[in-house]
């Protein structure tokens, strides 16, 4: 059985390496190192889920998330957003932070427990 594809969009190589090791136990992991590349990869590779960092150069997570959710080819892909330290977002689909509304399927604050991340991603896939 083919393993589900998960796209990780984050600009920190060490962090990416860490979560990749965790996720690879269950999923096939694709990586993009900035928002612009991430959005392009999501369109071309059509991953089953996306793990998206907020703080990135070129295109930050908010913008990327909006673009993905507003585009018909990618709008159905569940997104898990990784937030900055101490920046807890709501469990709900919509969260208001710094006056911006962001539409995502789940949120996790850094630093993340890799096992928890795997569990959350699996949960997102099951929801489909």
């Amino acid at each position: 059985m083919e393993r589900p594809k998960i796209l990780v969009i984050d600009d920190e190589p060490d962090f990416v390496e860490m979560i990749r090791m965790a996720l690879e136990r269950e999923f096939e992991v694709l990586v993009a190192y900035d928002g612009k590349e991430g959005v392009a990869r999501a369109r071309s590779d059509k991953p089953e889920a996306i793990v998206l960092d907020i703080m990135m150069p070129e295109k930050d997570g908010f913008t990327a998330c909006q673009e993905l959710k507003s585009n018909s080819t990618t709008s159905s892909i569940p997104i898990l957003i990784l937030t900055g330290v101490g920046e807890y977002f709501g469990r709900t689909k919509y969260a208001k932070v710094r006056g911006m509304e962001i539409e995502a399927d789940d949120f996790m604050a850094k630093p993340v427990d890799p096992n928890e991340l795997v569990r959350r991603v699996a949960a997102l896939l099951k929801k489909d």
Binding site: E12, F15, I19, M21, G86, Y88, N115
Partner: protein, 659 residues
Amino acid sequence: MWRTLKIPGRMPFRTLRSKLVFSFLLVVLAGGLSSTMIGTRMVGNTIISEAQNKGRHDMASAWMVYQEKINRIKDVLHLTAKRDLIIRSLVGREVEVLRRQLERVRIEYGLDVLTVTDQEGVVLTRTRSPYRTGDFQGNDESVRRALKREIVSSTEIVLQEELAKEGPELVRQAYMEFVPTPMAKARPETRETSGMMLKAAVPILDINDNVLGTLYGGSLLNRNYEIVDKIKDIVFKGERYKGIDTGTATIFQWDLRISTNVKDKSGLRAISTRVAKDVYDQVLENGRAWIDRAFVVNDWYIAAYEPIRNLKGEIIGILYVGTLEEPYTDLRNNVIYSFFGIAFLGLVLVLFLAYFITRSITRPIDELVRATEVIAGGDFSHEVSIQSRDEVGYLATSFNRMTRTLKATMDELYVVNTKLQELNRHYLEMVGFITHELMQPMGVLKGFLIMLFDESLGSLNTPRQKQAVSTMLRNVDSLINMIQKYLQLGRIESGKMEVNKVRIPIYGEALQPILEDERQQLAARKMEVKVENEEAFRRAEGEADPVLLRIVFSNLIGNAIKYGREGGKIWCGFREEPGELLFYVRNEGQGIPSDKLTRVFEKFSRLEGELERRRGGTGLGLFNAKEIVERHGGRIWAESEEGKWANFLFTIPKAPKKA
């Protein structure tokens, strides 16, 4: 704008000025009253003693009038007795000639009696009752002494029988029935039959100086008002006061008014009335003069009474002069009224002056007070302009100096403070930057350590390796926790913390995420969280910033895990209170000493002891929580039973009900 000066105190006067005016008033009132009292008393006494002096003076004048009348009688008799015709007709016993000559003299000089005796004292002729002759008058004191060549004159009592001899009209003229008089001395008699007479007697001598006989005569005083009216005219010049004669004079026969110009109620001369008992006792009984106020018939008089004596020196009556007291009392009262009037005017004047004087005193003080308020309000550029050389002037000068010094100091402080704030901001930015930069590698470290520890990257060969990874993990957690607290602090202190209040379910938005995040930590310390009143808690909604409220719960629960007893329980709960929502996080464990219950919320405050050091607290968690709760308009506090439990409680105000 001016504000009303308010000085708290027990005094009913709210301003310095009213106090000053009141003090002025008090002083003037005390001075004015005492001087008025003393003054009126002095003036009163002076007026009364002046009146009494006048009484004495009047008395002397009255006596002069009285004595002049007696002397006149004596002189008439003396000159008459020397006339040749009289002497010759007496020698020749030409009684009819003698009588006619003397009758002319008697009428000419207005005498009531003029009688001649021979050298033995037997009456030769009476001018008034020519046929009553031959009676012996040598027993009469005046006649007796005239027979001895003396010329005498005096006031004498003449008995009714003697009056009858001299003329029956004289009996009627003298006769008086007493009119009942209040304050008079009780007497058994009810009437007076004898008369009182001014009387003189002279010897009649021949050329060889032998006594041929005597000539005696006089005026009956009873009902004869010549003397008293003359006294009144001379002494008082007929002055009247409110329709009443101010001056009065009376001749008393013993205590009976026989000649007077004192009027009774019907306006008639008050003859037949009697003298007051006090006067009776002093003048008639003791022979002393009386000068005092006395109630005479109807009014008060300043009265002088002196005894009238006969030739033998016996007291037979009283001469009285009196001045109506009313003009004097009115004068005294007028003086008193004008004293009070002047005092009152003075008081008004003082009040008026005090109003302006105190204004000049209090105006600079008011100005100072206003200046103080301006400065208290933070405006140090204000200076008072008071040009006076007194203490207030010095105060104003010192005040201005103080203001300038203060302003200089404040300006310096402002500069320093601005620099400090800038430094602090730089510092916080640096801390924020460093901690943020630290977080990234820490996150990577933590992730790898977790995977190492749960051996998902391959098994660890020895228990010691596992132990080492576990300790590393614990230390990384601790570091991360510290960094998080500094990041919170940075946000709070730099003023960047915006409170974005939205209506949220507190449990779902703030508590549950933290419980999930802390699951591992709880498991590591074998602790368990119990949610009390869970159903209501899950329903509770409040206006709060979800992100910030999570920090509060995170810090409180983090603390409970850190300081709670291993294997113990943590209770999270909710209660609805009037006007606010109350939340608490309680844990079993050492608790907090009662004297530290408030200090734990201070920045960088940590409990002492080995436990604290090993746990690696920053002393920021509770401070951050407190700041956040207070920014929400709530309160936070701690309760504890030492050695058993600690409880942290906070409130947020209930949201206003939606319309």
